[in-house]
Symmetry: C2
Subunit: 315 residues, 2 copies
Amino acid sequence: MKLEDLGERKIIEIFLNEIDEKILYDDASLIDFGDYYITISTDLINERLHIPREMRPYQIGKYLVNVNLSDIASMGAKPIAFMAAFGLRRSLDENFVRELARGIMEVCRKYNVKFLGGDTKESLEINIAGIAIGIVEKEKVLLRSKARVGDLICVTGELGNAAMGYYCLINNIYVDKFIKKALEPEARVKEGVILKDFANACTDISDGLAYSLGEISRQSNVGFIIYEDKIPVDKDLKLLCEKLGIDYREVLYYKGGDYELLFTISKEKVKRLRERMEFYIIGEIKERDFGMKIFRNGKVEDFEVRGWESFKSKI
Amino acid sequence: MKLEDLGERKIIEIFLNEIDEKILYDDASLIDFGDYYITISTDLINERLHIPREMRPYQIGKYLVNVNLSDIASMGAKPIAFMAAFGLRRSLDENFVRELARGIMEVCRKYNVKFLGGDTKESLEINIAGIAIGIVEKEKVLLRSKARVGDLICVTGELGNAAMGYYCLINNIYVDKFIKKALEPEARVKEGVILKDFANACTDISDGLAYSLGEISRQSNVGFIIYEDKIPVDKDLKLLCEKLGIDYREVLYYKGGDYELLFTISKEKVKRLRERMEFYIIGEIKERDFGMKIFRNGKVEDFEVRGWESFKSKI
């Protein structure tokens, strides 16, 4: 079967079948180091999939670092270093390289992350693998598998904006606030470091809220309920969806790209966390048998879990 | 100026101009960790540049891990983990993934390296960034900059075989021993770990002996002399070069792909190292003012330093 028919997650499954030991399937990988874990993640960005024509080289650089740091933040780790392997087209010019570097360095500086170099090769299209390295005390690492029944489900910010930004770009509708969210997502680096002292489970929302919820549910072996009207959204999101004739819930749950953090927290810790950072309670973790539900329009419905998947999904 | 006119090293220079602090330009990057360095390297392999049609998916997997482990070995570090970001074509099939994974795991198992997963995305051509992580005691790390005047210059094995293998593939000449060296290079992982207790400077010979010597010379601020007839070569290499009408020295010095280690060592340590591993003394480190020389045909000549360079070089 061809990869386009298999999809990313099936490809990963085939791959994992060849591995002897179980590997942690979380936002980043862990290396055991005394009282600490070194967390490492790699995210590959591709010209056709992740780099709209409107994204300037400086924004590509920022995007590359942010999507990688997001995976470190979601483990509760502090990022310490960043590297990249650049596959670049021959036809690009030196200004592209300069602006790309400027974007990368701006984000590295902002979070005091050391840029450690990497590799540069020729490629038919731009393919850049970012590599982010972080560190976290072992007992504080945030995993998708650590949600507990009774935990509240929270997010760090508005959802759906980045996906709407992509729709805008594709349809040549220039609503800048959404487009900016698509082109310049910001990793929740500081929030991740705070959350290690408060949250139980955590993951970032790169492939859509539904996918991220599904992962926490599957790996923690729990159910959940989400309250649709508690989800923070931009006030114009619904309206613009209607105008464009696109499904509001598709944008909100199934597209991703926001890079907000989704986390679960014991009720008694909520008040203390409020003093440290902004977040929104959108639901609650339930027993496995409860299933995956959503409360909307005055009633409880089943919540479909799927999300963006490389090779299969279309924007 | 376009990247094809700039070449890899000029691209890196433009990039580094945007960086505040000086970054270590060595085979791998270092992260300070108490008494240890964590060494990380990333090497991107590209379908057109590194993957001849004859290279089977299993061999791609082995190649990917070996070229990355080579950069860890050349720092004197023990490899502990491996990750990869896979850019794969939609048209590949599941057997490709299975065989690729098998190759990767075979090398990881051989050196007791933990495979930690990574990322999978769609790409127009195969682009895979390998990421190798190692560890070494701080005071034992091997750097290109640590060669001392009077050190002997050594290599761990025969040179030119991989380059000859590529020539064979391109010209449809099936001399299996050379082709195998091109398709299945083996990183000197065990030798790297031994060398940390003996060598001063070290680098791998991925872009040709001349380039590697040039790097040690530049970064250590020293000159050198190489004795051409001391360089270990396959007995058929010269003959086959003559037959094919290609320049023997071009193959030997300027093409690379062998992934042997080039290191320098104080004379008094040579005997003890002989008891631990096989190696070949090919020259000696001299004062900077001596320059870069080669002894051949009974006389000393200037040695031209250049090597394989992405974007610019042609096979």
